[in-house]
């Protein structure tokens, strides 16, 4: 099932509760910040090793899955409200990054990688 079908489910969910009125771009961006914050809270005190194994603990795994779902749902809603095709936007950005960071020059280059991150 594609992204637009998932957006249709979320849109119907909001409409049925008369919640679409709250789903303005600014509000959805704030909700997305909130959910990413909750996702960060699941990982913040874990060591790198504990974080790598977080899905082996059933309770933590369920919490992580739910937070990922919350982040995804607000991202889908926001793209829907802004009428942005997420898949197309992703492909376009990958094409930009292919040019910006040619594989042969960027290979294993953490500094270039960091510069990349600052530049996005």
């Amino acid at each position: 099932m594609g992204i637009s079908s998932l957006q249709a489910i979320l849109s119907a969910f909001a409409e049925e509760r008369d919640w679409a009125q709250f789903h303005t771009p600014k509000n959805l961006v704030m909700a997305l910040s909130g959910e990413v914050g909750e996702l960060a809270a699941e990982f913040q005190w874990l060591t790198s090793e504990q974080a790598a194994q977080v899905m082996e603990d059933p309770e933590r795994a369920e919490a992580v899955r739910q937070e990922l779902a919350d982040v995804f749902s607000y991202l889908l809603r926001l793209a829907d409200v802004l009428d942005v095709d997420l898949e197309e936007a992703l492909r376009a950005k990958v094409a930009i990054n292919e040019t910006r960071y040619p594989a042969d020059r960027a290979r294993g280059n953490a500094l270039k990688y960091t510069a990349h991150q600052r530049g996005t």
Copy 2:
């Protein structure tokens, strides 16, 4: 094209640059926070009215599309690294929310909606 195909593109992009070593769960969560922060920066000084029309300005629209793509790409990478099926997780969360906020009781109820947000 489905979510897993997009994840394959992103995974190949990282592998070709030897960047997969940086893509630990904690690092990806931080990168996701960073990109959501950049998305917030696109909207922070706009009024509600300006935010609703942001896609009518070509330069701002392009910036928003790129930030949405960046958020989506780190969410896809994180789910991939954690081996979480995003679509399945989203459907499971919607099912939970269907039970938690029955449409007939939640309708137009901002307070319930806020409580919902605190509870997630």
Copy 3:
């Protein structure tokens, strides 16, 4: 009471619980993201008008005060761990911004303001 005295209180609180081991820079940045996310959650569904009056509702006001305190406490801890003087850093940044945005040219200029935000 100054900033360093507040940092001493928070440091002692962590030490007494043997929690200082968790307070690495990366972990504290994630905790800060988490708390800012919770703060965003308090405001996300409010209209501009409701947000401007949020402190008139005793329950919401208390929630906002606690979230502001949580954000402040992790910011203080992070600066302490990194040995950054927050007041000095703030004054230095204001000096940079005074040069970057001369008052006579920046006045009432939302575009310049937005550019300012993108540049920081």
Copy 4:
């Protein structure tokens, strides 16, 4: 110099540029999210070891100081606009946490610590 003096500097800076009109609670919360995102970006690809030594690299150290200053400045502005006394709020929250996590029971207990974080 106390917190309110720093807030007075920031308030004057905004007034001189006619930018106070943009400093509504929702906008400032979004700006805070944006700056915390930029702070996260400074740390996201560093290992724990690299992050612990980040202040030894002059260029990175300066970037971190500026991001900390940006986060602090929006937190101060937000508290000012909401008329919240940050120091008082912090002390009140520490008092709550003293009761919630008695030192003798919370000592070295990461699980309790995580529960603490979820509960805040």
